[in-house]
Amino acid sequence: MFHWLEKNPFFFAVGVFLVIAFAGLVEILPNFGEASRPVVGLKPYTVLELAGKEVYKKDNCIACHSQLIRPFKSETDRYGQYSLSGEYAYDRPFLWGSKRTGPDLHRIGNYRSTDWHENHMWDPKSVIPQSIMPAYKHQFSNIADIETAYAEAVTVKELFNTPYDVDGGVALGSWEDARAAALAEAKEIAADMKNQDVKDLVANDQIPEIVALIAYMNKLK
């Protein structure tokens, strides 16, 4: 049999591939499947948070900020508990990033609040004098795309069984329900903000990008 394999390089290569692939299957896949399961208590994003995630992607926060805390003491002292793969189970796509011009944001919700984000996004140097981050004033007037965020939530619910509308979880419901829920969430955040334009927009049932982004930032814990 092996003599025959030695004479047939193609089938020999197939045999080598099968042997190595088998080792990969038994060593990599079980661990991978275990680690990528959602951690206990993890909830999917609300529609408003998803809209904020879109703002995060659109304004390219990932170019300077990572969302992955490595298990080193120097990092956990500054950012908190190291990240687990199961925490990204509902991130499609995850926004790990690979560049830290600014600090890591994976647990920013634990140590910054709505009012701080408002000051910081309007003028970063007003809170951190040495900051090189640009101001994002357009987020205070641009309107967040709640429709696309809802479509995204429905898509991941249908396609990947992301647990929306479960007991004790995040409710999604119809577009009207979701829009009302997003508005209610936005009003809570706007109540903690000081910018009058933002407050007026939210009072008129429009959600500026900054509100969605702050909802997303506060969710990152």
């Binding site: 298990p71 080193f72 140590y111 609040s113 709505t114």
Partner: protein, 293 residues
């Protein structure tokens, strides 16, 4: 000795010379065992290069292929039925035995874990930190408090702790007048003091104004009559009755730890909880630093 051996010897001598040159002129400290071992290794490589090269070149000159051929033949290239070289065969058996050990014991028991290394590092560091700062003196606490403040607090409260013109609590003073009026009007139940919640509307109008002016003024002179309501919990001196309620005259250790543990939402905005982010020693250091401002 033939010419080839002489060439190999010369090459070896060049390698040895290079090694000695590096040690002598590049300030290599041979008292460091790592450097010493590295240099001995370099010398051994030079010597072995000479030996192995000489052996095989000699062998190529004199060797003739002999022995019985196997039946296999690949386009004129055959294979001898030679015994396996002993060293090779025993090493092969050895790797099989080693693989059995590695499969059953070596890997499962001693597998490297990044999280394990992290846990070890943190545990060792924390033990060392606690040991070192068990009885930290005031200067150490002050310095530690300042560095903690600059990392953890300065992003919101500003490097000089002045609250960045109203964007966060001004930690160089206790409370401003409008903050006192706000908390009198709304009450507070956030910090988990033993005395419990402060009800809303304990005073109003001119009474509240008088109380606020009195507290902002550093509680000097005659207390306004309305302050009696406050004194019931915060004490006549405003010190909070030994940690039963918040100290309204300064940031003592108790109020610093309670705010860090619970966070606080006031009229300026919300401070998140810093529960478990600082050790007790660090919280004490932070309180020491805040009092020095």
């Amino acid at each position: 000795m033939n010419s080839l051996m002489i060439k190999a010897l010369a090459f070896s001598a060049v390698l040895m010379g290079a090694t000695i040159f590096v040690v002598k002129y590049m300030n290599v400290d041979l008292s460091d065992p790592v450097n010493l071992i590295t240099m001995l290794g370099a010398a051994a490589i030079a010597f072995l290069t000479f030996g192995v090269a000489a052996k095989y070149i000699n062998q190529m000159k004199t060797d003739k292929a002999e022995g019985e051929l196997t039946d296999d033949n690949w386009d004129g290239i055959g294979e001898y039925k030679n015994e396996l070289p002993g060293g090779w065969a025993y090493s092969f058996l050895g790797t099989i035995i080693w693989a059995m050990w590695y499969w059953t014991v070596g890997y499962p028991v001693n597998a490297y874990s990044q999280i394990g290394e992290y846990n070890k590092e943190v545990k060792a560091y924390n033990a060392q930190f606690q040991e070192m700062h068990k009885n930290a003196d005031a200067d150490t606490l002050q310095a530690m408090g300042e560095s903690i403040f600059l990392v953890q607090c300065a992003p919101c409260h500003g490097e000089t702790a002045d609250g960045l013109s109203g964007k966060a609590q001004d930690l160089t003073a206790r409370m401003a007048k409008d903050q006192i009026l706000d908390v009198i009007a709304k009450g507070s139940n956030q910090l988990g003091f033993p005395m419990g919640a402060m009800p809303a509307g304990m005073a109003s109008g001119a009474d509240a104004e008088a109380i606020a002016d009195y507290i902002v003024g550093g509680m000097q002179g005659q207390a306004p009559a309305a302050y009696a309501t406050c004194a019931a919990c915060h004490g006549a001196d405003g010190q909070g009755m030994n940690g039963m309620s918040p100290n309204i005259t300064k940031y003592d250790e108790k109020i610093v730890t309670q705010v860090l543990a619970n966070g606080k939402k006031g009229m300026i905005g919300k401070m998140p909880s810093f529960n478990n982010r600082l050790t007790p020693v660090q919280e004490k250091a932070l309180a020491t630093y805040l009092q020095s401002l």
